[in-house]
């Protein structure tokens, strides 16, 4: 028997199944879909109320977009400024070109400390570079401290959301995981009791483990400051109690000025969790003697980001501040949850970010995991035009695939090539309509509807009917209508 939330899924895009296949597994899990639907409804309702009360919401979005665009267009300048300020304040800045380099830097830093244990704040960037399994294999015990991450770590599950990683797990499933792994047989599914169980488990780690790993929401160039926003306070513990702190941060997270936080923090909490302000906002600059960690390292991670930065249409992907509003509003994510995306970054932002981080060598089905409904763009606090990037990536996928010999007879490719010829002339279009009418007659029932089609058409008729083709097209009707008029 598989335990709650521990269904085998791969979030490594190199090995994950294509989206339609992975989605089907999720669609067949009614409990998961119910959990996801319920959780995002709660967040979305809270968000909706708080967005309405901000009369300057659209101006804030524009300002945030402008700040992010400016930061990205001058990324080199601001990263070097951050490095200089952070170093001057006693921090150490390391540059990692890819995941392997980042993992090695972090392991080397831990070895310098003789660390056999490390506590962690939720960081999707560390999931991106698969840090935990690497450290475990190297003999370092990793303890997640975010409630959702504890649930996943103890339940051996994978994150399905970037803000609420255990969104797909409900509290009775959490109870099962805690009762089993913490040996608490009489635990109830009362949220207070569950939180207390986690607190007892955590307190001992906070007090005894001297090394911590975090991510960051923002880097401030002008002051060399790092910022983490969170809800639970576990982050504050990790950031203040240990002797040594290592923060792994994507290079795109930099903001030019301290003042830019004013805009970002107003948008981020509302978009992410539906709160006016997140409960804990930590800001620190290098080290302060006698207060907090005395050794502080920042690992700046590229891992494909500068390649994205070099492309004009795709660059906007890097504006993302990881609020997850796009996945909360996405009607596709709503049905499938996050695991179907086969990436630690699911939902609409994952559908554009993941294939790009993979240099378009993997996850090519993700740009198609969208009906292009545009809800993601509408809610995005930094105005990433996700549908536009999806279309750009689809075009790149087609350009890649059409060179492959096998694609010549792929039905979708064949169909679209023929359609292009058909639409090139009115003659061709009208001939195709006549042929379609004759061809479909065979499949049309007496009631004038088509209930079953072969081949690609079966994808439609598996759940919907299709009205049979009418006897007269509009342009044929127009020809007689126009004559009558004269």
């Amino acid at each position: 028997m598989t335990h709650a939330g521990s269904e085998r899924v791969s979030l490594d895009p190199r090995f994950a199944p294509p989206f339609p296949e992975a989605a089907l597994i999720m669609l067949r899990n009614p409990q998961l879909r119910k959990n996801v639907g319920h959780a995002i409804d709660v967040i979305q309702t809270k968000r909706g109320k708080l967005v309405v009360e901000k009369t300057d919401w659209q101006e804030l979005r524009s300002a945030a977009s402008a700040i992010r665009v400016h930061a990205l267009e001058n990324l080199g300048v601001y990263l070097e400024e951050f490095e200089a300020r952070c170093t001057a304040a006693g921090g150490h800045v390391h540059w990692a070109a890819d995941a392997a380099e980042a993992r090695q830097i972090i392991l080397d830093l831990l070895r310098e400390e003789n660390a056999s244990e490390v506590i962690k704040i939720k960081t999707m960037t560390s999931a991106e570079i698969q840090l935990n399994p690497f450290l475990q294999a190297a003999g370092v015990n990793v303890y997640e401290t975010d409630l959702a991450e504890i649930i996943l770590q103890l339940g051996e599950g994978e994150p399905s959301h970037i803000v609420v990683p255990a969104l797909h797990i409900n509290r009775s499933q959490v109870r099962e995981i805690f009762a089993r792994t913490m040996g608490l047989k009489n635990l109830s599914d009362d949220p207070k009791e569950l939180t207390n169980a986690a607190r007892t488990y955590l307190r001992q780690k906070f007090l005894t483990v001297p090394t911590a790993i975090s991510g960051a929401n923002f880097l401030i160039a002008e002051s060399g400051t790092v910022s983490v926003v969170e809800s639970e306070g576990n982050g504050r513990m990790c950031l203040t109690l240990p002797r040594t702190l290592i923060s792994l941060v994507g290079i795109e997270k930099v903001l030019p000025r301290f003042q830019d936080l004013e805009v970002m923090l107003q948008l981020l909490a509302r978009s992410a969790t539906g709160e006016r302000m997140n409960p804990y906002t930590s800001l620190w600059t290098g080290v302060s003697p006698g207060d907090g960690p005395q050794k502080f390292h920042v690992v700046l991670l590229d891992n494909g980001r500068s390649r994205i930065l070099a492309k004009t249409k795709e660059r906007q992907t890097l504006k993302c501040i990881r609020c997850a509003a796009c996945m909360n509003t996405c009607p596709v994510y709503r049905q499938t949850g996050g695991h179907a995306y086969g990436s630690v970054y699911p939902g609409p932002i994952g559908a554009i970010l993941t294939p790009q981080l993979m240099q378009m060598k993997y996850a090519q089905t993700l740009p198609y995991a969208s009906s292009l409904c545009g809800a993601c763009y509408e809610v995005c606090p930094v105005k990433i035009n996700i549908p536009e990037v999806l279309l750009e990536l689809r075009s790149q996928v087609v350009n890649q695939e059409r060179k492959q010999a096998g694609r010549f007879f792929d039905l979708m490719y064949l169909g679209l090539r023929i359609a292009n010829l058909i639409f090139a002339t009115a003659w061709g279009f009208h001939a195709a309509q006549r042929m379609g009418r004759i061809g479909l007659r065979f499949f049309t029932s007496k009631d004038g509807w088509i209930h079953s089609l072969p081949s690609l058409g079966a994808k439609w008729t598996q759940t919907r009917d299709l009205r049979g083709l009418p006897k007269q097209t509009f342009h044929q009707w127009w020809a007689t209508h126009a004559k009558e008029e004269k």
């Binding site: 009906s371 292009l372 009205r467 509009f474």
Partner: protein, 254 residues
């Protein structure tokens, strides 16, 4: 006022009654319509699937056919969105200077049906009667790409006898998404089922929209499920008058 009707490829082939309704409606309002016999497709299907080169040839064809039109009316939000939102990028990548210029001159004269009625003709009351309970599906392209806003509601408010139902999650996608419905058929079907729950909960007789693609999707499921609700394009409702509402109902029920 003169206007060219771009009926769109799928309406021409599958839903000629929508074209007939648009003609009745606009001619009743005094618009002189013409219909370019060489029109085919706007290129949306190709563009949305990633076939940009193919989409370009259709986009170019559209501009060349309509560049001299006084106005172009299109009873399909997603096709108008294709023209407004995607043509500029496609032309920037593959087109030349003259095509770009001709497109820029043409695009302000391209209207979705409800835009043409309200923004160009300045009418809200089109003299329609439709004595039924109706639910409006705010299609993705209408509500988010074209920002149609209050336009369809203003038009429906002036239709005599129309009882407008309110629907939960009115602007949530029905799951069609063009080739998405085939490439991701299972997810699309799950989205459709969720949408249909909201639509059917309104207990309306008809579900209307300004996009026949959504209606084809919803209607196909309604027919499969014996749901007892029918789909009807807003143009058909607006074309209905007291005298012929019986005929129209018969036609819509086909």
């Amino acid at each position: 006022m003169r206007a060219s009707l771009f009926i769109t490829c799928y309406n021409d082939t599958l839903f000629p009654e929508i074209g007939r309704a648009v003609v009745r409606l606009l001619e009743r309002l005094g618009v002189t319509l013409d219909f370019h016999p060489r029109q085919t497709c706007c290129g949306q299907m190709h563009a949305n699937t990633g076939f940009r080169g193919e989409a370009f040839s259709q986009a170019k064809r559209f501009v060349r056919l309509y560049q001299d039109s006084e106005n172009v009316v299109i009873p399909s939000s997603s096709c108008v969105a294709m023209i407004r939102d995607q043509y500029p990028g496609i032309f920037a990548e593959l087109g030349n200077e003259s095509l770009h210029k001709d497109f820029a001159a043409l695009v302000p004269r391209v209207y979705e049906l409800s835009e043409f009625l309200i923004d160009k003709l300045g009418v809200e009351d089109v003299g329609a009667t439709f004595t039924h309970r109706v639910v409006y599906h705010a299609s993705c392209h209408g509500v988010r790409a074209l920002q149609l806003g209050e336009r369809p509601y203003k038009l429906m408010a002036k239709v005599r006898g129309l009882d407008l139902a309110t629907m939960a999650n009115v602007d949530r996608c029905c799951g069609f998404g063009g080739t998405f419905s085939v490439k991701n058929a299972e997810v699309s079907s799950a989205m459709l089922t969720a949408k249909l729950q909201d639509v059917l909960a309104t207990k309306a007789e008809y579900c209307t929209a300004l996009d026949n693609s959504c209606l084809m999707h919803l209607g196909g499921a309604m027919h499969r499920e014996y749901a007892g609700m029918k789909t009807i394009h807003l143009a058909q409702i607006l074309a209905s008058t007291e005298a012929d509402s019986e005929d129209n109902r018969t036609e819509a029920a086909q």
